[in-house]
Symmetry: C2
Subunit: 115 residues, 2 copies
């Protein structure tokens, strides 16, 4: 019964949380997303999605301390749970399996090679 589905934005935000680590709070995640995806996203969309991922148990969060920056309000820092990590690994493996079977993609047309 491992309800394991991840939407497209959900999956990408999880990965960005994993990349940003202790700097993974909504505003920063939004900026990172826009930089990497070359695409705009509303901050509200990110908050909503992070909340839902937390409710599903794929992410946890805790309030960090306030920084000494101008307006440096306390941030809610997100991190990936064990269950979230498993879900991510599953979707990744599934997609890799499919890509391997897709003739147009499998035959040495990959620009990136992992591992």
């Amino acid at each position: 019964m491992s309800e394991n589905r991840l939407g497209e934005l959900e999956e990408v935000l999880m990965l960005i949380v994993g990349i940003l680590e202790e700097k993974a709070y909504a505003l920063n995640i939004t900026e990172e997303y826009e930089a990497q995806a070359d695409r705009k996203v509303a901050i509200g969309a990110v908050h909503t999605t992070l909340n839902r991922l937390e409710k599903k148990g794929f992410l946890t969060s805790e309030m960090g301390g306030a920084t000494a920056e101008r307006g440096g309000r306390r941030k809610r820092i997100y991190s990936i749970t064990a269950s979230g990590h498993r879900a991510l690994a599953n979707v990744r493996d599934f997609r890799l399996t499919l890509w391997k079977q897709f003739p147009a993609f499998a035959e040495g047309k990959l620009k990136f090679v992992l591992a």
Copy 2:
């Protein structure tokens, strides 16, 4: 303005269409999905999604001939358009870029290696 987004199911069904080639019709796509994803999906869900992908210009379809099987009604065969292929390649490259930056995933923990 390249409206390039692909939902999770949309993306996977596109890949399966690419894998099945001339056998890519809804019922067969459904069975292939269930076999590969180890997960159930309603045939109606597949039809709806294929229709939407066609409307977006990522897939095309044409009716194939009736086969000589018992009950062999004519099938609607789907194939990927140039635009669909580009969209797929984009999401794949984007995700690979993210995975490479994700410490827990990037450090030799991959079971599958492409190319």
